[in-house]
Subunit: 421 residues, 2 copies
């Protein structure tokens, strides 16, 4: 099979996507998983719960791709129109599927512990010509259709149900059916250098890249991720080529290199702490617990993360983190002196090897001529040493919080690695 034959279009259905009430995280998840298995997502399209629009989109995406993956529109309620439409589109009718009905009955009886109502039985209806895909995590089944050499798979829009169906059935089946070419990625993360400067720095190298390799710049939260994507027939050859070019790139950006893995900063810092058997606490004012969340949303955080004191009010900074009253009155809560004392206070109060502290004005209110909105102080320390940094962010509140958290984790990384200036 050639590359063309395994091109995929993702079609998501739902009015909620077109009025912006929900963010489409399904497409990103699907794209990531498919890509890792060597499939190429060519397009992503979202349309509303409208019969004509869905029908037209199915026609159009069939012209763009060989495989069309559909999510959404399979819930039990009246705003769902996808299933009858699919029956018409594939020239068949809806019938009750006995296996699905038994599964729905089982879920209501043994898992939900609720009586089943008539409407729930409709979940067991499927277009007669489809191959039913078992949904172990919910009532709405997946459905697999083939028509004019195209494959169509429809899944519910509930993320963990869609993910189960993709992992258990769709991807394994696609892998059986298609021998894909190899797609390999190498990713590194830089900090402290802007996108343009980075581009200038690596221009000669980038221009000389062989055609199988493509470079992408992915700026995010004040840092720039660089990703080389390679496509080829022979995986081993491609891997060698990528390795050579990636090493060259790493040398060029060594000064700003954060990691040469496709890793987030929280995961990277977690690994450094876990591998060195050190513990961490955070003392968060302006980030309000967000750093603690970034660390604890990953499995195994209890290996190194002891806890956090979110000292939103000054009274908490004083009482639980032993920040001195005169420090607050002389320098203010957003100051180097305060974050240093917060760090010391967290090391003592939570008894950890490392501590991280943040204090800043996240906006939109609370700024002053002296300390405008976006002024931030961060500190990272252990028993021997405390290092600090200040920033002047110019963004909205949430982005200011995210940037502060990201830079704080990077400061901690430098402290742990002993590369802080």
């Amino acid at each position: 099979m050639t590359q063309e034959n395994t091109e995929i279009s993702i079609l998501t259905i739902g009015d909620e996507l077109l009025i912006g009430q929900v963010i489409d995280t399904n497409s990103a998840w699907m794209a990531r998983e498919l890509n890792a298995s060597g499939f190429y997502v060519k397009r992503r399209v979202a349309v509303g719960d409208n019969r004509d629009e869905i029908w037209k989109a199915l026609d159009e995406e069939s012209a763009h791709a060989r495989i069309i993956l559909i999510t959404g529109g399979l819930g039990p309620t009246a705003d769902d129109i996808t299933k009858p439409l699919l029956a018409s589109y594939f020239g068949t009718r809806l019938v009750i599927n006995k296996d699905v009905l038994a599964h729905v009955e089982h879920l209501f009886k043994n898992v939900f512990g609720r009586p089943m109502i008539e409407r729930n039985k409709k979940q067991a209806e499927v277009p007669e010509s489809c191959t039913v895909i078992h949904n172990s995590r919910g009532t709405a089944p997946g459905m697999w259709f083939e028509k004019n050499g195209r494959i169509y798979a429809s899944m519910p829009g509930v993320p963990h149900e869609m993910q189960g169906i993709m992992k258990d059935s769709i991807i394994p089946t696609l892998l059986e059916r298609f021998t894909t070419g190899a797609i390999l990625h190498r990713t590194l993360l830089t900090a402290g250098i802007g996108e343009s400067f980075l581009a200038e720095r690596i221009e000669a190298w980038e221009t000389a890249l062989p055609p199988e390799l493509k470079l992408a710049y992915l700026p995010n939260l004040g840092m720039v991720r660089l990703r080389i994507t390679g496509r080829g027939k022979d995986e081993r050859e491609l891997d060698e080529l990528l390795t050579t070019q990636f090493e060259a790139l790493k040398n060029l950006v060594a000064e700003w290199l954060v990691t040469d893995q496709d890793d987030t900063l929280p995961k990277l810092v977690s690994r450094l702490l876990r591998n060195s058997s050190k513990t961490l606490a955070t003392a968060e004012s302006c980030t309000g617990g967000f750093i603690a969340h970034l660390l604890t949303k990953e499995p195994g955080a209890s290996d190194f993360f002891i806890g956090s004191i979110v000292s939103y009010a000054n009274q908490v900074k004083k009482e639980l983190l032993s920040v001195k009253e005169e420090t607050l009155s002389q320098f203010g809560a957003v100051s180097e002196e305060t974050v240093i004392q917060m760090t010391k206070g967290a090391l003592v109060a939570l008894g950890t090897d490392y501590a991280l502290a943040t204090s800043g004005i996240m906006g939109p209110d609370g700024g002053s001529p002296d300390k405008p909105v976006g002024t931030v102080w961060i500190a990272a320390g252990n028993r021997e040493r405390i290092i600090t940094h200040t920033f002047s962010f110019r963004h909205d509140r949430l982005l200011n919080i995210e940037l502060t958290a990201n830079h704080a984790l990077n400061l901690l990384r430098k402290l742990i690695l002993g590369i802080a200036r």
Copy 2:
């Protein structure tokens, strides 16, 4: 102008969207803002950094919509191909725009404080036939094109830059150009009733809805949001119709009604606390600071939020929240007794009117036959009363955290309103 004439297609450009490295939050934001201004987003399409694909998508979306809003592909680096393509697509050539160049020079000199390099000058290149849209937040300008009765506006993909251009220029210009029909929404949030049961409960009402109104079910984090969308020519008439039907719906679901505003639970709880001048602290084990983050990411949280003790390790539960050693050894950290003591401890340690506590096993590891992954205890309390609830979630770690936080905020809401059982 009729409705058809203000239909919008959003086209996002970038390989990073097709390999799932970033989640497309821009489209949701744009859809929300456009919708609030009476514009209807008909389709959302994402394609990669590929000339042919972008060209084809421009052709196709021109057939679907009157207005095509494009984001992405305008950065200063070599992976960006959108600008030359737009010049070709609209039959013109790239020229340096003096105003944009002056703005870029100003940013480098006065804001970034960095020397400007040759590559940055390219940011000032625009297709000669376009109307330049000022980007006050960054170097890449927006561009407005008209062709064959269609409007095309291109913006950078950096969220806060795109948002500035949309708010300052695109939406005001569209409002001037088009007299749109009215689009109004009414939204309510329910808790404690499944989607199917809700649908059964309101079926007769829903079936009798006039054709201008449409109901959508938006289940999220264990709760169901219901949204009525109305479209019509006369805003006042539509508003009256919506009000009547919304009141009827509210009566039908009164038992499960959380709010009749399009509000998130954190915002709702924040308002309740602010309006009653009460303070809150959280004592978070399994949610790891996520509740504190949900509350502090909204402006003005310091009005009521004092702080949090994220007691991830048991030692912190004991030392800072005064949870008794024998409670932990007899009942375990994930128990009703522990969350009650955590709540009391937070009320005392942080000196607040209310406190919220969570403890659970978020997975994927850490479960036991007795307390499987997903077992959660939450408590909400003040000096007079502490109420608790337990859950058995069956999802992945992040969703378990989000569900726990959401249900904890709902428990606090019930306590504040005095409607807890």
